[in-house]
């Protein structure tokens, strides 16, 4: 186990040296001859876990020192070393919560060691609690956002379909019904897409990476199978170019999430009036990195929205049926693979997403 940092403050140099000598193998002991010296060390060592401080020092008592640092350095566990004569003030300090425990003078090695070990356990529990609390807070916030979006993104399209079904009951011709059915289909597709993305989202959140050699030929075949019918239907020329100079070790699942989202976005957000619509994926593997470039000549993204597109549930356009989930998942997947994503885009001209993934 790695040695953790213990700060010891005492105006008697012999005590400092003695303690340091006794525990140099067990802990990383930092020493100071005064409260001010101790403060200085604290500033530079925020990872100090335990502070031992003598109560009787010229200028400042140990308790005063602990009170002073409490707000700025709340994390280290504080222990007071003192003679019995100071017992009143010590009890006070312990009750106020400034001090974890006190050690009576003259101290014995065993006692100190036991106190440090106990303090360390307390420190670890506390920092774990803080960490868990932060995670929980974040999870709650996401859940809130999620619950709000679920009512819109999932309930919304279903409610629309219900309304449409109601309408078909009074529709007069088959053509009217067909028109309504086409729109219903889009609504249902939207729910379906939302749920698929939600599945991606949770598989990214929960899953551990499974690193293996990526078979790019297979990946390309799969992507072509998946997207060519869709692209043909929308009159989009879909092309994949591979330039593989070496092998890549990574996890295929996040890579698929990234590419599926980027390609389906590129196919989806095209300009209707464009006669030469294209979507191109270029993959190059060289110097320990894979670079995936997805480019299109579609509607592009306004400069004003470029910073927001990776946020959860953000949608920059009312054209088409976005879930506001896709690029968030892309960013999450890129982060999970320690990669990087860059976007260049111009409204009305097209977009280019460049993802770089390092080999593991």
């Amino acid at each position: 186990m790695e040695k953790f940092k213990v700060l010891y403050i005492d105006d008697e140099i012999n005590n400092l040296v003695g303690l340091k000598a006794s525990f140099r193998l067990d802990y990383d002991i930092l020493i100071a001859e005064s409260a001010d010296g101790g403060k200085e060390i604290l500033e530079h060592n925020p990872d100090i876990r335990i502070i031992l401080c003598d109560q009787r020092m010229p200028g400042k008592t140990g308790i005063e020192f602990f009170e002073e640092i409490a707000s700025k350095h709340p994390n280290p566990i504080r222990m007071l070393i003192t003679g019995y004569t100071d017992i009143e003030s010590v009890i006070n300090a312990i009750n106020k919560g400034h001090v974890f425990r006190y050690i009576s003078k003259p101290w014995e090695s065993n006692e100190i060691k036991f106190a440090i070990e106990e303090g360390n356990k307390f420190y670890l529990t506390q920092s774990m609690l803080t960490q868990k609390n932060e995670q929980l807070q974040k999870a709650y916030e996401e859940l809130d956002k999620f619950a709000y979006s679920v009512t819109h993104d999932m309930r919304g399209p279903i409610v629309s379909v219900l309304g449409a079904i109601e309408l078909t009951k009074s529709a007069e011709t088959l053509k009217d019904v067909q028109e309504i059915m086409d729109m219903m289909e889009k609504s249902v597709q939207r729910v379906e897409e939302f749920m698929r993305n939600m599945h991606y989202y949770y598989s990214l959140k929960r899953g551990e990476l499974e690193i293996g050699e990526i078979n790019f030929e297979e990946l390309i075949l799969e992507l072509k199978d998946l997207f060519t019918p869709n692209a043909n239907q929308s009159n989009v020329l879909f092309d994949i170019i591979l330039d593989q100079k070496e092998f890549l070790r990574s996890d295929i699942v996040p890579i698929k999430i990234i590419l599926n989202n980027l390609i389906s976005n590129a196919i989806k957000y095209q300009r209707m009036d464009n006669d030469t619509k294209f979507v191109r994926l270029e993959i190059s593997i060289t110097k320990g990195n894979a670079t995936f470039t997805v480019s299109d000549n579609g509607i592009g993204i306004d400069d004003a929205y470029l910073n927001d597109i990776f946020k959860m549930f953000f949608r920059a356009t009312s054209e088409n049926t976005g879930s506001g989930f896709g690029l968030y998942n892309v960013k999450d997947a890129v982060r999970k693979l320690n990669g990087d994503i860059q976007v260049k885009s111009k409204r009305g001209e097209g977009s280019e997403f460049k993802v770089t993934i390092p080999s593991k």
Partner: protein, 133 residues
């Protein structure tokens, strides 16, 4: 023109929901005209060109959750553009598919918002409301 006929403006990013609203509105018998917009900014532009006339009543149905400019932002822009003494010709209703309480509370805070209607819009839900005005 009969005074109880109303001009309707529907603002919703879902094409299907616009379609449903148009059909339902046309079936009420109170519809003088109906226009739908998938983007709130386009609707604002349209509204800016409408005549101010006590005979020309406009009912706006606007969805809350839309990208770029949502329903609340639309109301804010509307209130900024249309002076208070001219708002009596407008009846603004917010539409939502969410059953979100904070949205309803927020909706009440806008002076120009008349009511909050749940989706899907049905003939009966809009008729119930129309008899009151």
């Amino acid at each position: 023109m009969s005074a109880d006929k109303i001009h309707f403006v529907v603002i919703d990013d879902s094409k299907l929901d616009c379609f449903i609203a148009e059909k339902v509105i046309q079936n009420t018998g109170r519809c003088e005209s109906v226009r739908s917009f998938m983007m709130a900014a386009d609707a604002l532009e349209f509204l800016g060109k409408q005549p101010f006339d006590d005979e020309h009543r406009i009912m706006i149905l606007v969805d809350i959750q839309m990208p770029i400019m949502n329903g609340f932002e639309f109301i804010e822009s509307f209130e900024a553009i249309v002076p208070e003494d001219r708002r009596r010709n407008y009846i603004i209703n917010l539409l939502s598919s969410s059953i979100n309480e904070s949205d309803m509370i927020r909706a009440k805070a806008y002076q120009s918002v008349r009511t909050f209607l749940n989706k899907p819009l049905t003939k009966s839900s809009i008729e119930d409301f129309l008899v009151k005005i």
